[in-house]
Symmetry: C2
Subunit: 380 residues, 2 copies
């Protein structure tokens, strides 16, 4: 009976028409019928990634595509640059180091964005670097990195640019080809408005060339297997059929709405969420806030309680801090199937919880601040 | 509008109550509510695997769990025995060789079962062997291997026994602990009556000891990460939430029916399917046929057409041969949510298709042969 309001940065709520597709009688995956679905999905993925290259679907969490982006392009002892600013940027390092790849860190403090000119310096100082790995929207801090700028820099080098776009894709402007992103990875449970279980990866011609020399051991995460199966609209291993069938429906929705319109909507919600935090006297955590999740500092002694109380008392799920940020920030998502009304529900319950936890809160203040922004946008 | 009858060895049909769970509003995976689901599922998995050890869930195809069973226990240069007799046995070799593991092959001809005494000989001749990898029911040929006997042999050595039970688990008697299986892997889309997207793995104390010395590079497939997260009823990476929620429902069904009763039912169906093949003058392909899929030889010039015509004209999906067996055999599954009536539907349509393709078929003959077996079982 409990009603849930999901304002978490993945999984995000699933539209009912998409969710119902998951419940349809299952198709066999080695049939012309499934091949048609898969082909349609593969074309749709190109649109969402804004790429002319093939997009491959891997059964697994977003990390599965990240590991594919390490093992398919590198060899042990290779040097890479990881430009990180949070939990997910750090994950690039951890995967790479697991495989004996040498990591040159260009780290930004959590809450800050990575500095493109530092990547440029690192590339100049280390001419053997094979690839630059970074994060588009760093979900753990709410920061957005300037991928377009980074793409301009990396393009001029011999290195390829690999971007974790798991949380940002579909949520805000991202152009794989125009921004010179050689490898972009994403997952199904954020901007795609789907359940987790699928991850995606694109590969540019420059990256394919690097793949040829890659010697890291691999089997399930071998991008060449996916490329080969793609020719016949298949996957090398049994695909999560029901998730792919529902992905087809989700992509249809995205196409109908239009990517640019979606980006505009989340931008508006992001503005409303930021105004709301200000009205609550909660300082924004991200120096360059992304459009898909708003992070704000909270008093340390109540950080964990806010998330727990919101969920238990009101069924509203937001996220807390991860790693070193545990208990210190809250994160409210506005991506996927999250709309204006959802945000207002979240804010009004948040106000009550802050009040209960002893913070000085003017009831209705954050809701009003968000309403102002939303109304203003309608007036144009 | 097309009606589908799935008699394929994965994916198998999904019971409607299980399928509908996939369509429920999604839970967030870092909550006490999801932790309860996950805990319940983890306990249920122990029952299906017949083990007291923890069973870990990995987001991915069955091959994901297979690769985990290679990289989590071995180091480059290690020697292993692979006792294979088909496509999936061969996969153990391919994964292992991708990682620089030395494979000692104890292969049986496709259609035959692996010989336990040959494994014993190989173990005696190669005292450094770290592990024996084999397949329970080899889906590509329909053969069943004597895991109990192999378990008795491997137990006496220093090696661990790793078994691919992807298609057999839930479909016929399999006892991880009693049969001395150190690592068993399976997937969601066969005996579990679920969509593909989840794979499972068990680890015995003997295997944990070997894991301690494992040096193969790994991140996503690192079993230690799964063990650590298990403590808090979590997975190390975002789990396919909707699939896990529907797995909970599927396991409830399996518990209600009882594993032994399920095994009995598929054994009966297997007997009926074999009698049906005999009535059609189609020779069984498997020397030791398993209970979950029946394979039979067909004239080479029509092998591919049977599968295609059955699906296109009648909506009935069965499987053909894989690899070298392409076009030479057909495979009819009786596992998961496939019952007596489904088998009869498949057989009656198969008769018509064989007839259309010019084979001499006495209409109704295979159906009658199957009916005889099914009725006899009711009479007791």
């Amino acid at each position: 009976m409990k009603k849930h309001y999901l304002l978490t940065p993945g999984p995000t709520p699933i539209p009912p028409n998409v969710a119902l597709k998951e419940a349809l009688p299952i198709l066999h995956h080695r049939t012309s019928e499934f091949a048609e679905v898969y082909k349609d999905v593969a074309e749709g993925l190109k649109y969402v990634f804004q790429t002319k290259q093939e997009v491959y679907t891997i059964a697994g969490s977003g990390t599965a595509a990240m590991e594919t982006a390490i093992v398919s392009f590198l060899s042990a002892g290779d040097e890479i640059i990881v430009a990180d600013c949070g939990v997910f940027g750090d994950r690039w390092k951890k995967i790479a180091e697991s495989y004996g790849v040498k990591v040159i860190s260009v780290s930004a403090q959590w809450g800050k964005a990575v500095k493109p000119n530092e990547i440029e310096k690192a590339l100049n100082a280390n001419p053997n670097v094979k690839a630059v790995y970074t994060t588009f929207t760093e979900t753990s801090t709410g920061v957005e990195n300037d991928i377009k700028k980074i793409g301009e820099i990396v393009e001029k080098s011999k290195a390829i640019l690999v971007v974790d776009a798991v949380s940002g894709l579909g949520g805000q402007e991202f152009r794989t080809d125009d921004w010179k992103v050689d490898v972009a990875v994403s997952g199904s449970q954020k901007g795609f408005m789907l359940a987790p279980g699928l991850s995606f990866i694109t590969v540019s011609p420059k990256a394919w060339k690097l793949a040829e020399s890659s010697k890291l051991p691999k089997f399930y995460f071998d991008i060449k297997k996916y490329k080969k199966s793609y020719l016949t609209n298949e996957t090398p291993f049994t695909p999560p059929v029901t998730l792919i069938v529902s992905l087809q429906e989700a992509i249809k929705d995205i196409k109908n709405k239009g990517l640019e319109n979606m980006w505009d909507e989340y931008k508006l919600l992001a503005g409303a969420a930021r105004a709301a935090m200000k009205a609550l006297d909660l300082e924004l955590f991200a120096e360059v806030p992304c459009q898909v999740v708003t992070s704000a500092k909270v008093p340390e002694n109540i950080g964990g309680k806010i998330v727990k109380t919101l969920r238990e008392k009101y069924g509203v799920s937001i996220a807390g801090g991860q790693g070193d940020l545990k208990g210190k920030i809250i994160r409210i998502a506005h991506m996927g199937y999250i709309g204006k009304a959802d945000l207002l529900v979240g804010l009004s319950c948040l106000e009550m919880v802050l009040c209960e936890l002893g913070l000085k809160v003017k009831l209705g203040a954050s809701v009003a601040a968000a309403q102002e922004i939303l109304l203003k946008a309608q007036r144009g």
